[in-house]
């Protein structure tokens, strides 16, 4: 379990991470989503004690990172696949990490085997492809058989086979009851791996929700209609028991309706239509709208401090009404 409490990081005037409070629970994959520069990597570095929080704290199973004895046996992390000395072999890289945490030597061969690097174990890391470097980083994370795993953008730069491998690995780790915390800037990636979603933008918490909830709220289809006979169409729809809402540009939108159905209805009542189109709000769009609103929100409120829960609630509301308006 990773607990963040009011975690804040400032670099001079710039606030990279702003008052983040959330908990990453065991047994599921928690996705950590945000656009580039949202503060995901900074947050993860603070979890590992690499960067010092300006305010707030992070607890790993109730302890501060530097209070953990042999931390690699509690939490394994892949922050940066290139955080390896290129002149050292994969075997020696893992061996020095194992020794520093009192992990038996035999474990090195095990994790090399688990990530499929046994054949190149004695080769220098600088000759590794990006995908191999990523695998070596993951081997390092698995080394101490930790209950918590944290991966920063693990699928970046990987080929489809590598991506599939990592997705499967994360799911199986969570299925073993481990805590898996993985960041990404791609909603589509999170949609297929994460069970729970933490979204940040501009360093602020925007959503902390289960993936199922997020999909239910955001992946709805609707029909967009434009007509010069607006009032007449609304009457027709109302009679048929269909609710339409106003959208931008004088258009109407009908939730979950079938275009054939509305088209037939309009033809029966001789209503002229200028547009009748099925639309799908993709998760990616929902995510972009959510983070875009955080920027807007941020700019309007300025220095007024807002408690996290209120922020989250308003962000949820905003994106709920946002898609209806077809923003």
């Amino acid at each position: 379990m990773i607990e963040l409490e009011a975690l804040t990081k400032r670099y001079g005037e710039k606030v990279a991470v702003n008052n983040l409070t959330f908990t990453v629970r065991p047994g599921i994959v928690t996705g950590f989503l945000g656009p580039n520069g949202a503060g995901k990597s900074t947050t993860m570095r603070m979890v590992l004690g690499l960067d010092r929080p300006t305010m707030g704290e992070v607890r790993i199973d109730g302890k501060r990172y530097d209070q953990l004895k042999d931390p690699l046996t509690y939490i394994g992390a892949l922050l940066d696949a290139k955080a390896v000395h290129g002149g050292r072999s994969a075997y020696h890289h893992l061996l020095c990490l194992a020794q520093s945490n009192g992990i038996p030597k035999s474990r090195v061969a095990e994790v090399l085997d688990a990530v499929g690097l046994t054949a190149v174990a004695r080769k220098k890391a600088k000759g590794f492809s990006y995908g191999m470097g990523q695998r070596l980083g993951i081997a390092g994370a698995l080394l101490g058989d930790p209950r918590i795993l944290m991966f920063d953008e693990p699928v970046n730069g990987l080929d489809p086979e590598g991506i599939h491998w990592i997705r499967t690995l994360m799911k199986s780790l969570a299925a073993q009851g481990r805590t898996v915390f993985v960041s990404s800037h791609l909603m589509s990636e999170m949609a297929v791996t994460a069970d729970h979603l933490v979204v940040i933008g501009q360093g602020r918490l925007l959503a902390d929700t289960s993936m199922a909830d997020f999909i239910e709220r955001n992946s709805r289809s609707y029909v967009r209609i434009r007509t010069p006979q607006r009032e007449r169409l609304l009457d027709v729809l109302c009679e048929a028991g269909i609710t339409a809402v106003d959208a931008d540009g004088g258009a109407l939108e009908v939730d979950g309706g079938k275009p054939e159905w509305i088209g037939d209805l309009a033809a029966q009542h001789q209503v002229v239509l200028h547009e009748l189109s099925p639309r799908q709000a993709s998760l990616e769009e929902a995510f972009m709208r959510l983070t875009a609103e955080s920027v807007e929100y941020h700019a309007h409120t300025g220095a007024v401090p807002v408690p996290d829960e209120a922020l989250t609630a308003s962000a949820r509301q905003a994106w709920g009404s946002g898609w209806k308006k077809g923003a």
């Binding site: 570095r45 004690g49 940066d80 955080a83 390896v84 050292r88 061996l95 020095c96 194992a98 020794q99």
Partner: protein, 256 residues
């Protein structure tokens, strides 16, 4: 502050990178070979030396003449051991494994210092013995007063130069500025300062100028330093401690 398992880990780190081991080898070879060459040349030209130089001749120090160049390889070793963690990004992996930063730094320095001392001791004895063999009738031996101290001192000097470089590298992190400051300083600036009369007195307290008195058996004619061989080494140790404290303080407070 160091711990057994972290020391073991640092030993694996240091021995598994070829570049750091190479620099130690180069330090040994350069120091020994150059000392032999200069000793041989001096022995051949003995007849042409002015009498005051003959009187102040220090055969022990002469066999360490290669140190001025060999120490540069020791500097590279000290800098690389610390800064390659930063230049490769390995430091983030290392600090995640050992979040107690002082423990990481001092375990690393313990291992690198022990290795530098082992190489320094071997280098110093070989440089002395081979240097003396080149000096022929002007040679001295380990039985003479102060000679054994000077030879062991040569090992200490090489070690301290490396440790000083580790401290500076811990402060500067990146290898290029660290090497860019240390190499010209010890190879040129320090020598120039100690030969210009205006700065001579101050230059005596520079780490290499003070530390190298430990390798002298016959004090330099005309300008005896206000400290003895051990006093000089003590001054160098203070410089080294200052560099280590600086490196530790910065490492502790900096984001990795």
């Amino acid at each position: 502050m160091a711990s057994v398992q972290v020391v073991r880990s640092e030993w694996t780190k240091i021995r598994s990178v070829a570049s750091t081991m190479w620099t130690l080898g180069i330090a040994a070879v350069v120091t020994i070979a150059l000392g032999m060459l200069i000793s041989a040349l001096l022995s051949r030209d003995w007849e042409h030396l002015p009498p005051e130089e003959r009187a102040a001749f220090d055969p022990t120090y002469m066999s360490f003449a290669g140190m001025s160049l060999g120490q540069l390889a020791m500097i590279v070793f000290g800098v690389l051991v610390v800064s390659n963690e930063y230049s490769t990004g390995m430091i983030r992996t290392s600090l995640a494994a050992v979040p107690q930063r002082g423990r990481l730094l001092f375990s690393k320095i313990t291992v690198a210092t022990a290795l530098a001392f082992a190489v320094g001791l071997a280098t110093s004895f070989v440089a002395f013995l081979l240097g003396q063999s080149m000096l022929g009738e002007h040679r001295t031996s380990l039985d003479e007063p102060g000679v054994l101290r000077a030879v062991v001192g040569g090992a200490l000097y090489m070690t301290l130069i490396a440790v000083f470089s580790m401290g500076v590298a811990a402060m500067l992190r990146s290898p290029m500025p660290a090497l860019g400051i240390l190499m010209p300083f010890f190879f040129l600036v320090s020598n120039i300062l100690s030969n210009v009369s205006a700065t001579k007195k101050v230059a005596r307290y520079l780490p290499d100028q003070a530390g190298s008195t430990i390798m002298q058996v016959v004090p330099r004619a005309g300008d005896a330093a206000p400290y003895g061989p051990w006093g000089g080494l003590g001054i160098m140790v203070l410089w080294v401690l200052a560099a280590l404290v600086g490196g530790y303080v910065l490492l502790r407070h900096r984001d990795a």
